[in-house]
């Protein structure tokens, strides 16, 4: 919920500008003061917008830094603590935007392809449900499962498989 203080500051600044306008005195002076107040309000809005944008950028950078991939245990669609931590960084960034969200679910190569297609979707849905529970509109999210068709690591063995059991945020 890190975006709230920023929005709050912006509202405070706007309110202050409006008070300046309301408290101003006689005609020409009033006009000058009104113009000054309007300019101040505009500057305040710009500052707020700049600050909000900077904060949004900071959140997005933080989300980018943790990566857009959430990993899963074998045969599981439960979110790991690592996945939750990564996901939280993205959620605060996504709350400040309205962009569509695509979640691509993947599995390792073990098991049948169509069953893995369903497991990949289950993983995507786990991430989606966590996002929705944390305030992201469900209408923004599309889950697409690739099953085992798009491995990151081609070889066999757990060191490869663990890299492939994942959901990617696009």
């Amino acid at each position: 919920m890190k975006y709230l203080p920023i929005a709050g500051k912006a509202i405070t600044l706007l309110f202050t500008a409006a008070l300046l306008v309301a408290c101003s005195g006689s005609d020409t002076k009033k006009e000058d003061e009104a113009a000054a107040a309007a300019a101040a309000a505009k500057a305040a809005r710009q500052t707020a917008a700049t600050q909000a944008a900077a904060e949004q950028q900071r959140l997005q950078d933080a989300a980018t830094a943790v990566g857009n991939v959430f990993y899963f245990e074998f045969d599981s669609s439960a979110l790991t603590q690592q996945a939750i931590d990564t996901l939280n960084a993205h959620i605060v960034a996504l709350q400040g935007s309205a962009t569509p969200i695509r979640l691509e679910g993947h599995t390792d190569e073990r098991g049948t392809r169509e069953y893995n297609m369903a497991l990949g979707e289950r993983r995507g849905n786990s991430v989606r449900d966590y996002m929705v529970a944390n305030g992201i509109a469900t209408s923004r999210i599309e889950v697409v499962s690739y099953g085992e068709e798009r491995p990151v690591a081609y070889g066999s063995g757990e060191s490869n498989w663990s890299q492939n059991r994942r959901v990617e945020l696009k």
Binding site: R110, A118, V144, R150
Partner: protein, 428 residues
Amino acid sequence: MKWLVYVVLNVVLVLSARAELTIEITQGVDNPTDIAVVPFAWQGPGSSPEDIAAVIDGDLARSGQFAPVGRADMLGRPTTGAEVFYRDWRALDTEYLLIGRVSVAGQMRIEYELFDVLRQTSVYSGVETGPVNEARMLGHRVADAVYEKLTGIRGAFATRLLYVSVTRVRGGNDYSRLTLADSDGARPIVLLESREPVLAPAWSPDGQEIAYVSFETSRPAIFRQNLATGQREQLTNFKGLNGAPSWSPDGNTMAMVLSKDGNPDIYLMDLASKRLTRITRHYAIDTEPAWMPDGKSLLFTSDRGGRPQIYRYNLRSATTERVTFEGTYNARARVAQDGRNVVIVHQRDGRFHIALLDLVTNRLQILTSTELDESPSIAPNGSMVLYATKYADRGILAAVSVDGDVKFRLPAREGDVREPAWSPYMSR
């Protein structure tokens, strides 16, 4: 075991320079039938466009039930009955002898005759005619006739395979190619090439059409394609899974998996009206539908019991019963035409094998010994199971007979090969 040694040492048949798959026979039956397939006489202009005898020889060898005589060992090369000297073939312990002649008059015409060397008599003769560019298919038909005459089982060499071959692209999207080939992997034709995944190829019961899943729209969709005309139709475009198409035996309905209503369930699409009927309603995963040959029920995979197992849905009674109980992972059933033998993916000790389930006795027999085996597809005559596995860290196709006695591999020259689908018998 003479045969086994012979195949391991000698038989790496490279079928054709342009063939994408090769054949490596790794295990045959203990006492295969010795047969000599003499090079057929070419009676047309120039040289023969295809070595028909080699096609037949390869088919019979691949069945594992025959041990063809090497050409270098042949003491004579008869092409007519009058030229057959039985003593030449008895000297090689040959039990049967196949000779033939190929001519072209508009169409290709193959005349052939099968001899019993011990009884010194002609036992079968026949003629195959067809377009010159289908010469290999004509050879496969001769092999079908010989196979049926000598084993009593209808041959399935004059059939085709669908499979997906993949060229890996590190750091980018792989190339997927949906490929159609002869049953021996020869004459591969790429039907679809995509940088997005292609999977789950399936045949229409008449062998004229195929269905598959393609991600070319950036999400999965089921397509239907006519092989003769190339005409293509996108059947589904639902949110979520669109997968596992399976044509009903009467050709009118397609079973599929959709998750548009929340989680993966089996649906039936009437192909004329495109109307959908949902046949499973469960919060678990229901997937991989496979029709029984009588069209009255379907097998499918479900983890409604906690682990994936095979279930059977009866269309008339709308009831579901569990079919597999042995082991913690049984999935992706395919049913033989006898409605009794079912091939599945079965996990044991962490390894995935192809297993044969007898629906009458409920006996489960593991057919393969490798560990990442999947996508079993059964020949229309029920004799062989084609499947995908990993060999030297690459995806390859392999085959095993339903009794487990015969095994061969079809590795690709490059890339990974997977998802084989053996065609039904092809109409002429």
